[in-house]
């Protein structure tokens, strides 16, 4: 178990190094960021000055190493557009996206897991079919469309919920639904197939044969098993949601990390883009690591061997 954790950690670090190289070179692919940063009316002298100030005249690998060095020591660079350090900027935007992601995941799980269990308990019935149709239909709806549909339905027609900004908790409901429902079908299908398998298993038959109540059988001896792969998938989906928040935050005018990324891309704010890419990738890497460990915690066969 210990060596497993060490190995996983090592791979995670290696992956993050490659990811950092990719995101660094991606931003520098266009050639000279100084030209873009200086603006259209800048003189060649001004551009050269910016180039020197930001170190863009140095060899590529030197630039990369100094960037990584600063990044690791907690200096995320300085935003050229916002004229402030990237660290505090991120700190302002991250809580919004994190809240949105957690709520979206909660929504996805609350819808998908019960539906999956019900579909598995009564396979090939109306409920199962409806769940399947919802899953297939759900996966065909891009989140920008579902966002717009939710705004139109609940914000404009019914006027139940606010549709823009992050002022109150109600502001988070529609974006969380828009972001979360996309993950729901995958979780539902996984719960359903996992439950179907476990309900056929010997230990569930034992539980039934020993007179345990149906709910005990289904939840304690069934769902407990079916949920193990769901945990891993849900964690991964949470990582996707952080990336996918770009769309939802843009539509709902939420000032989170996704929106910041989108704006920074349009403003060509190099340091901010790099920092966000790396932060999201690192979060995802840590989450998958956590998912593996959580799996081990849920399954004593992994934990104790």
């Amino acid at each position: 178990m210990g060596s497993f954790v060490v190995k996983r950690l090592l791979v995670t670090v290696l992956v993050l190094i490659v990811v950092s190289i990719i995101s660094f070179s991606l931003v520098h692919l266009s050639g000279d960021p100084a030209v873009a940063m200086a603006g259209e009316r800048a003189s060649p002298e001004q551009i050269a000055e910016i180039r020197k100030a930001y170190g863009y005249d140095r060899p590529f690998h030197e630039q990369y190493l100094s960037w990584v060095g600063r990044f690791v020591s907690g200096d995320f660079g300085r935003s050229t557009y916002l004229k402030e350090d990237v660290g505090p900027v991120l700190a302002r935007h991250i809580p919004i996206t994190a809240t949105l992601g957690v709520l979206a995941l909660a929504f996805a799980l609350l819808v998908a897991v019960p539906l999956g269990v019900i579909a598995a308990l009564w396979p090939n019935t109306i409920i199962d079919r409806i769940a399947l149709v919802l899953a297939v239909a759900g996966q065909a709806m891009p989140s920008f469309l579902s966002s717009l549909a939710l705004i139109y339905g609940f914000g404009v027609m019914l006027r139940w919920l606010p549709v823009s900004g992050t002022a109150t908790w109600q502001h988070y409901i529609l974006p969380a639904v828009a972001l979360g429902y996309y993950a729901a079908p995958a979780i539902m299908r996984l719960t359903r197939s996992g439950m179907m398998d476990v309900l056929k298993s010997d230990h569930v038959r034992t539980a039934r044969a020993y007179g345990l109540s149906p709910w005990r059988v289904v939840l304690r001896h069934g769902l407990r098993h079916a949920i193990i792969p769901v945990v891993a998938v849900a964690t991964v989906q949470f990582g996707y949601m952080l990336g996918g928040s770009v769309v939802v935050e843009a539509v709902f005018s939420m000032n989170g990390l996704g929106n910041l990324a989108w704006l920074s891309i349009r403003r060509y704010d190099v340091e901010v883009i790099q920092a966000i890419l790396l932060v999201i990738a690192a979060t995802y890497a840590v989450l998958t690591l956590a998912a593996d460990l959580l799996n081990a915690a849920l399954d004593p066969r992994i934990r104790t061997s």
């Binding site: 791979v11 290696l14 992956v15 993050l16 490659v18 990811v19 990719i22 995101s23 991606l26 931003v27 692919l29 266009s30 297939v136 239909a137 996966q139 065909a140 709806m141 891009p142 989140s143 920008f144 469309l145 717009l148 549909a149 705004i151 139109y152 404009v156 299908r189 197939s193 991964v236 990582g239 996707y240 952080l242 990336g243 996918g244 770009v246 769309v247 843009a250 996704g258 990324a261 989108w262 891309i265 349009r266 060509y268 883009i273 966000i276 890419l277 999201i280 990738a281 995802y284 890497a285 998958t288």
Partner: protein
Amino acid sequence: MADTSLIDGASASISAAPAAKPMPTPGQIALRRMARHPGFWFGGIVLGVFVLAAIAAPLLTPYDPGTQDLARRLAAPVWNSAGSWQHPLGTDHLGRDYLALLLYGARISLFVGFATVLISGLIGTVLGVAAGYWGGRVDLFVNFLLTVRLTLPVVLVALVAVAVLGQSLPLLVLVIGGLLWDRLVIVTRTATQQLVGREFVTAARAIGSSTPRILMREILPNITSALIVVGTLELARAILMEATLTFLGLGIQPPLTSWGLMISEAKSQFLFRPWLIAIPGTALILLILAINILGDALRDVLSPEGRA
């Protein structure tokens, strides 16, 4: 559907008496199962209609999607009381015929989808087959690449790439294709691994067939069905990705048009003329739905044992 007796014969042979009828080939069985699968019909027909409509766009509408007619801007579709058959789906904020935009937009969406799947299919197959066939270090390396790819936030990386490299159609295809190969690798790798252990591959090795020959003659033909299934599902993912990037303003650019662009441009009109979003939105959902259902049907038919 004319002759189902063969299928019945096949299942009856499981019971006591073996059937005397000739066994149908796996291909025949798959075709028959396909003909019976409603998902195959729905998905296939809808996708077919979209493809045909996109190809035959000039025949289906007299308008050019680029022609602006400011006098007729924001005309309502025909089912609206203010609409007329002159522009069945109305016009947009620049007076362009919405049906023409929809039809020509389908061309872009489908082109991006298919072209992307060709690229991601190539990357995914090469990596997946290599990992599955050689295993060991190659497998570890491919697995590492896969982890790196999964760790990258796709939408963000695509946005940055398009913003940095410039916004052209071929580039968009390259960027999406270069990102969406993860599931293809996973599936081809597993399929190849299963094949490598089978007798006919061992036999081919034993008689001294060269590696490229084994890969082309034994491995590739036998992973095509798995490849077709994921490829179909990836087609839907690629089309969604294009629409998303375009919606965010960093994908397809005018004068080209796509459904994502139509939705993006209609955002400001959304409260007063919701149909401007509903029309391309419905088309997009219907297309994705059809492709996904077709993919699921293909999976049921081609690899019944591999149902998720």
